[in-house]
Amino acid sequence: MGGATAVERMGTARSQIERVCGWLTSPSPETLDRCSGVLESAVAELAGGASWLAHARGNPEAMAEAWHLNRAVKRAGKLLESARQYHARWSRIRGAMTQGYGHQGIVPPPVLPGRISLQG
């Protein structure tokens, strides 16, 4: 009984994280906002596990689900990191292309160009 509850909880968290993985394949500021909400739900699902996990000790099904869950989290982390790196690297290249290299080769961050110009 306790094992089933643990498996169900972990399964719920995993499906949430897999949903996040799906969104992260097409990352945009909007999808990342949605990801935060779902990841928070997954954290809430798993928090306080010491009480409900104790009943599932030695349960092979729970153990397998825990590893699946861990893999899903790692995959989400990898996707988030690769998207972050993609934008960070491009941002650096863009900064270097538009503003050159600064002191000790440091690339300045890209500047948001002004859109309105007023003349007297």
């Binding site: 992260l24 500021p29 935060s36 596990g49 990898k78 491009w90």
Partner: protein, 468 residues
């Protein structure tokens, strides 16, 4: 009058500009389903407005720019290469895993258990001819299982070699097609969407097989370097790779056009995975001139220990020494498992059961052989563990390698889809819009990253609680 002419000129420029925009849009629509085609954009530039100097403002068409961002293309190629590598690893390790049955129902594991049981049965009736005959028959089964596994691994080596040759041929063919495009493009610097599309499509196909860097030259050609080191294509010249099988190590080499060893540079894509399989994974089981391989180590140590125990015994007459049960090719440490067999002509009578001691024990030899199943003495162990555990570890290595490769493949597939989406997203986005989005992204990444870190720790805690 001057102002009227300026206004008309401005209108004429604007009409020309919009006409060109329309042409570019039509081109985009016509090539929407062309593989590797990059959407083209025509930026409109504002012209200066100064009534004093007669500049009437308006817009004009800037240089036609390919929306294909080289950075995004490179990211897609990197992920394609990673996915090609993990897909090949999954395929190869699946074949390897199938050679090792850990369920105990077939193969070496089952044969080993059967032989241990027959040693035990012989210990209970040391003078029983049937019990001895059963030992010989089960020893034959175990030798056959070693031979079968070794033969399967050797077949896998051959298949991997053939796949390496095919992959190198495929790489050379794709680079050859790129070289033809370089010839067409040289001197024709203006962008040709059709050629661009072909070139990008070929580069993407190539990235599945190898990891490389591609850079566009001033003359419009593309330069391709294997892992950024070994030239495959420079201007109009192709530098073909060659596959060279050997006895090893390494068992497989990739040679550059000048004959230099490019194996170390061939780490990504399918080629990298095949080289890893042929040069690292398979020799760890089946050996090469520098190592015997775990399967041969196990076959040799088991056969030697069984023979040592049997030949230390004596027959019931108290004088005739026992015969060795196994034999194998002693000239090649990497050929032990493939050549392992029951010594020809060995009969039940030649299996000596009595340990001469002192004190003499009538069933001492089969008891000593039974101890191999749960060994206490170092002489009965292999690398500090039982033969069954050693085999289990070998099989588990193949299994966990396959599982890891599967997990990696799932991640790489998602990463490739992500890189393709990011390429699509950046296409046609203005730099102003992009800069704003980058700042929004940065904030969102940080928030999500913290949550992922918490989740990672929570899942590790979960695993710890379940295992303790």
């Amino acid at each position: 009058m001057a102002n009227l002419l300026s206004t008309l000129l401005s209108s004429s420029n604007a009409l020309n500009a919009y006409e060109q925009v329309l042409a570019v849009t039509q081109n985009n629509v016509a090539n929407a389903s062309t593989p590797g085609y990059a959407k083209q954009t025509l930026p409109l530039e504002a012209m200066s407005f100064d009534l004093v100097s007669g500049a009437m403002g308006g817009v004009r068409a800037g240089q036609v720019l390919s929306a294909r961002d080289q950075y995004a293309e490179q990211a897609v190629r990197q992920q394609t290469s990673a996915q090609g590598n993990s897909q090949q690893s999954v395929n190869s390790l699946q074949s390897l895993q199938s050679l090792f049955d850990v369920s105990g129902s077939s193969g070496i594991s089952a044969a080993l258990n059967q032989l241990f049981q027959s040693f035990s049965a012989w210990g209970q009736s040391p003078s029983d001819t049937n019990a001895r005959q059963s030992v010989i028959a089960n020893a034959g089964e175990l030798a056959a299982a070693f031979q079968q596994t070794a033969s399967g691994l050797a077949g896998l080596e051959q298949d991997t070699g053939a796949q390496l040759q095919q992959t190198v041929t495929q790489v050379n063919q794709l680079v050859g097609q790129l070289q033809q495009l370089n010839v067409q493009r040289q001197g024709n610097v203006s962008s040709d969407p059709g050629t661009d599309a072909q070139m990008n499509s070929l580069l993407e196909q190539l990235s599945q097989y190898v990891s490389f860097t591609a850079s566009y030259q001033a003359d419009g050609s593309v330069a391709v370097l294997l892992n950024g080191q070994t030239p495959l294509l420079l201007e109009n010249s192709q530098y073909s790779l060659a596959y060279q099988p050997g006895q090893g190590p390494p068992a497989a080499q990739i040679l550059a056009a000048d004959g230099a060893d490019a194996t170390a540079a061939s780490t990504g894509g399918q080629l990298g995975a095949l080289l890893q399989m042929r040069n690292q994974t398979l020799p760890s089981y089946l050996g090469d001139p520098s190592q015997p391989g775990d399967l041969n180590t196990m076959a040799k140590q088991f056969a030697d220990r069984v023979n040592q125990i049997l030949t230390s015994g004596v027959a019931a007459d108290g004088t005739t020494p026992g015969a060795a049960l196994f034999q194998y090719d002693t000239t090649n440490p990497a050929n032990v498992a493939a050549s392992l067999e029951v010594s020809p002509g060995v009969t039940p009578d030649q299996l000596a059961a009595t340990d001469p001691g002192p004190p003499s024990v009538s069933n001492g030899i089969p008891l000593a052989l039974s101890q191999l199943a749960t060994p206490q003495a170092a002489a009965d162990q292999i690398d500090g563990e039982s033969f069954s555990s050693f085999y289990g570890a070998m099989a588990a290595r193949a299994g966990s390698g396959f599982n890891d490769a599967n997990g990696q493949l799932q991640t790489d597939q998602a990463s490739l889809a992500q890189a393709q989406q990011l390429r699509q997203q950046t296409s046609g986005v203005s730099l102003d819009e992009e800069a704003t989005t980058l700042i929004q992204f940065q904030r969102a990444y940080e928030a999500n990253s913290r949550l992922i870190t918490v989740l990672d720790q929570l899942t590790l805690d979960t695993i710890n609680i379940l295992t303790t």
